[in-house]
Amino acid sequence: MIRLRRLARAASVLTTPLAPEDILALFNPVFSARQLRGVVTKVVPETADSATIHFHPGRGWKAHKAGQWARIGVELDGVRHWRSYSLSAPAGEDPAITVSDVGAVSSVLVRQTRPGDVLFLAPPQGDFVLPEHPRPLLMLTAGSGITPVMSMIRTLVPHRPDADVVLIHSARTPNDSIFHEELSELADQFPNFRVTHWYTGERGRLDFGSAAQLNELCPDWRQRAAYACGPEGFLDDAEALWSAEAAAHAEATPGPFAADPINLIIERFNTSLVGGAGHDGGLVTFEASDREVEADGNTPLLDVGEDAGVLMPSGCRMGICHSCLTPLRAGHVRDLRTGEVHGEPGQLIQTCVSAAAGPVNLDI
């Protein structure tokens, strides 16, 4: 590896201002000096609206832990868009994402991705991972919340005879239930893995209002390390039940020698700041400069920053020279020229022609 790097540095004497990777990319699209990439190796339909995309990442990818997610970049009509997806492949194998068609980006992934396509990648991250020491586990999932948990089950169940895993998975109908067959097969094959499919279409939502349903489905749930992944309401309810139980537990066994704490580890799908629509404006945070200021929806962020004493890069002040490009950390901005509201974390925006559309965080 080190020798490779030295070779690349030597080669760059001949390729400057390009990097050797820029030349190698002519022959293999995975090479890039700036952007981690992967090539799609296989696309497997899961349900009518979801598919699993397997890919082989280029150099620079670090192997994922079961349960982690990665940012994936896809091009829509020539423009790169980024979304976060949980990795469903077991640890130790090439990564894969399982995507449900719920928006423009995921729709392209599910419907139009073919083997050989290039995906843009950011390294895997996230703390929703298996415990360091073996413990009995309870997995609560709903809908596409199964994806990171599937990676954990695939990693653990076939390889660890001492594993003890209970999965309760909610889906509307059997047809909507991703990985339905594979889960049943694993449960048949490995006695240390038990799965309950809960169909909300037939039985309504799983009730976390009291412990009754859970007691029935998994009587020893209090002794298990629990993981939950699913929609916002599902997680809020589960969290409420667990904290109520934890409080009761603390009361029952006071003192420093309490038994294992009752814990629940939760994976929320990223809820970034949602911008107020239209001309509302919002609180603008200049993160590196540590300044905050309220802005209306018609003042360019460049002016807002300058008035707040932030050293903003600037140029023509009319949207042509791109000297003022600043990375967006969170929130949405409105293009004062077109009225279009847009914004994705990491996107470089022209502050001279963009105004806040809701709360905005800038990396400056």
């Binding site: 140029g315 042509i320 791109h322 000297s323």
Partner: protein, 393 residues
Amino acid sequence: MTAISDRTAVKSTSINGPAAKPRPGALAKSGSPLVRPPAAAHLTDEQVAELGRELDAIKDDILAKRGASDAAYIRRVIKIQRGLEISGRAALLMGRNKAAWVTGTTLLSVAKILENMEIGHNILHGQWDWMRDPDIHSTTWEWDFVTPARAWQHTHNDLHHRWTNVVGKDNDVGYNLLRMDADQPWKPHNLGNPLYNAILAPIFEWGIAIYDLELAEYQEGKKSKEALKKDLKALGFKALKQFTKDYAATPAVAMLTGSGKQALYGTLTANAVRNVWAHAVIFCGHFPEGADTFTEEMVEGETRGDWYVRQMIGSANISGSKFMHLMTGNLSHQIEHHLFPDLPSNRYAEVAPKVQEICKRYGLPYTTGPLLKQVGSSWAKVFKLALPGKAKS
């Protein structure tokens, strides 16, 4: 990113102060400049405003259409350019063979021209930033040209494009070296105008590198010593890398086949060819007969419509084949480029007839001509202005 942000930061604190209002450079919402340029003097404020709206509509139309096919275009050009570059350099490694030398030098010259013109210049304008591809972005791109991309972006995108042809504000009028406008006072050293220009052409990239240091601004106290030091350092690094690649590393590898000297001649020739070509194309942009220059009164109180007018009557196009347009980086559509500097260059050809029609309807000149005629015309100006005299022809 850091280089340019620091530079502009220094500038904005010294000129603007923390919250100075109104900010210099902002366009007026309505009204007219103190003096409207002679070629547009017949237009009313309302007509100019309407012209502005028509040009905005042309831009919006392209923005709505811009998409996957444009992205595919720039990626294809980049791929072709890199292919030419490595085959050209590879052929030069066997430069002892005459055919290999001619092939290598030709391919490398074409590659360098494409890299600077259709790829580098336009990416550094931010024409492809909308793709959000960090590999093809105005903030990350570095080009095969001595001047560092960030330094050039400041003098070119910010100063030249904002103040196009305003004598005293746009230093591109003569690059602090040549007398290119009758309103610039004549001094005896201007007698050397043609000589300076002839020397400049084959070493154009070095001329631009020095120009981008803004030494005059430093002498006038408008640029800090720290900023100059920083720019000098950036230029030093960049120049060293460029020099090493073409004049040391490539010949060194070629020595393996006994072609070291020939490879050196090849890279020298390719750089000179690119320099002469870039110099010619760029001089055709604003110096031929018909392209106007302006006074500071003409930009005082300028509206968006007036800004558009100035870009159109201050620029000149080159007519020719598709291949010629490609090799000029579509700067042959200089008028359209100055109106919409951040529209993708592959769209200028489509915009041109609409702009020409607008000029005709509003009675404004639309200057264009074949390459040789425009080059001749700008050289004629270089000669004419070597001699004293105020009369504009």
